[in-house]
């Protein structure tokens, strides 16, 4: 547990001292602010669903920018050799990077709470739906960060890591569209793999255990594969 804490502090410090995190946060808030103003003036409805969908799309593009350097940079600068020859289990290294990046992403998401507060001040939003939306976003972020780390762990080129992550996220996003072209049982498999298929119900306020399970098991699978990959020497 001590090594996990030490590694987490190092990762978080590296994230917060890098301009990448601030750039991502700035882009995120700029686009969200624009969308929020536009939809609020257009619909005049106290609802954050548009914002949640916007965050879903933005995070698919921006989370890989945050995860791409985690292992790729360590591999390129050869500091991974220092970590892997220290008396630290591979799982601690992976979990520390995962927790630090997820903390940053959730921190950026949390900044959007200001829109919920504004809606509450001037309207009557459905807080149950808002809570469910943030739960969906947190689970979505967990999956994106875990898969992003996995992609970063298999290459020393950050751009390749980001491109692979975005490619996988897009495939998962559109998996439900592909399902219509497939015959049983592959159609239901594609449908169940769909990222948006598990995200949408939660954002609408319907929280199903199966959707939560999808995000958690997918995240765990990606973290397991990253750890396993590191242990293959």
């Amino acid at each position: 547990m001590r090594t996990l804490r030490i590694l987490f502090a190092k990762e978080l410090n590296a994230t917060l001292t890098s301009p990448i995190g601030y750039t991502v946060a700035a882009v995120f808030l700029l686009v969200l602010g624009y969308t929020f103003s536009l939809t609020l003036f257009a619909t005049k409805v106290a609802n954050l669903q548009y914002i949640f969908h916007q965050m879903y799309v933005l995070s698919i593009v921006l989370v890989p920018v945050l995860t791409m350097r985690s292992f790729a940079e360590e591999r390129r600068s050869e500091t991974l050799e220092l970590l892997l020859t220290a008396p630290v289990p591979e799982l601690s290294i992976v979990l520390a990077k995962y927790a630090a990046t997820l903390t940053l992403v959730l921190g950026i998401f949390a900044l959007s709470l200001v829109y919920a507060v504004i809606l509450d001040r001037y309207g009557e939003p459905d807080w149950g739906q808002i809570y469910a939306g943030y739960l969906a976003l947190a689970l979505h972020a967990s999956l994106l960060v875990a898969v992003g780390l996995l992609m970063s762990s298999i290459t020393e080129n950050q751009v390749v890591a980001a491109a692979l992550s975005i490619g996988i996220f897009l495939m998962l996003w559109f998996a439900d569209s592909v399902s219509y072209l497939l015959s049983p049982p592959f159609d239901s498999l594609a449908l169940n793999l769909s990222l948006i298929g598990h995200f949408k119900p939660m954002v609408s306020g319907s929280v199903f255990v199966s959707d939560i399970g999808y995000f958690i098991t997918s995240s765990m699978l990606a973290l397991f594969l990253t750890t396993w990959g590191l242990a293959q020497r």
Binding site: R2, T3, I6, L7, K10, N13, A14, T17, S18, S77, E78, T79, E81, L82, L83, L84, T85, A86, P87, V88, P89, R233
Partner: protein, 250 residues
Amino acid sequence: MTISAIDAAPNDALVQTGIAPAISASNVSKRYGPVLALEGLTLDIHAGEVFGLLGPNGSGKTTFMRLLAGYLLPSAGRLMVAGHDVVGDSLAVRRRIGYVPEAAPLYRQMRVREFLAFMARLRGVPEGNVKGAVERIVDRLVLSTVADKPTRALSRGYRQRTALAQALVHDPDILILDEPSNGLDPRQIIEMRQLIRSLAGRHTVLISSHILSEVEKTCDRVAVLLNGRLLGVRAMADTADLEAWFLSLT
């Protein structure tokens, strides 16, 4: 409590008393796909000696060191470090060694003291002893003038020294230094050699080099590797002409 006391095991006692070798390789091989980087290496390195691995680039020196450090796993054979198996008891091995890779990598965003404290914590130095351990190693390796500088601003010589400091900060039994004089100027090479010699006795030191004179002046014993095979081992005291012996083997 020191790190060595934390993990003291019966095997360690045998190593410390000289009954068991500090490093023991038995028929160790390492394969990267179709390439056999190390072939059936059998070698014992005694506690407290400075042992040199000599050979041209690609001879298997770095592969052997990476196996010892736990960065790679052997494809075949048995490798014991400080009485622990590098495959079955990898964490225990990693607690007992200090390792400096050839590139002497450092975290560029950290300052020297911060980096050494991070490595000390990672290597299991108790929180209350971290500051003392860092200051001791800063003094010992004469790093005080650069201790508050970011590691990215260090010259090659100080970078190498900082890399050595991170390997020594937890006072390990065994030091593994891959090409420690690489890229240093003549004065820095002499200083590095004196530093390594000063570690003998208290630490078992394994260094790799492709420079004959460096090995000759630094090591107690030397092994010659070529194309992943061990060609010979000899004590420097018994070697009148290292160059002639090296040429006769290769």
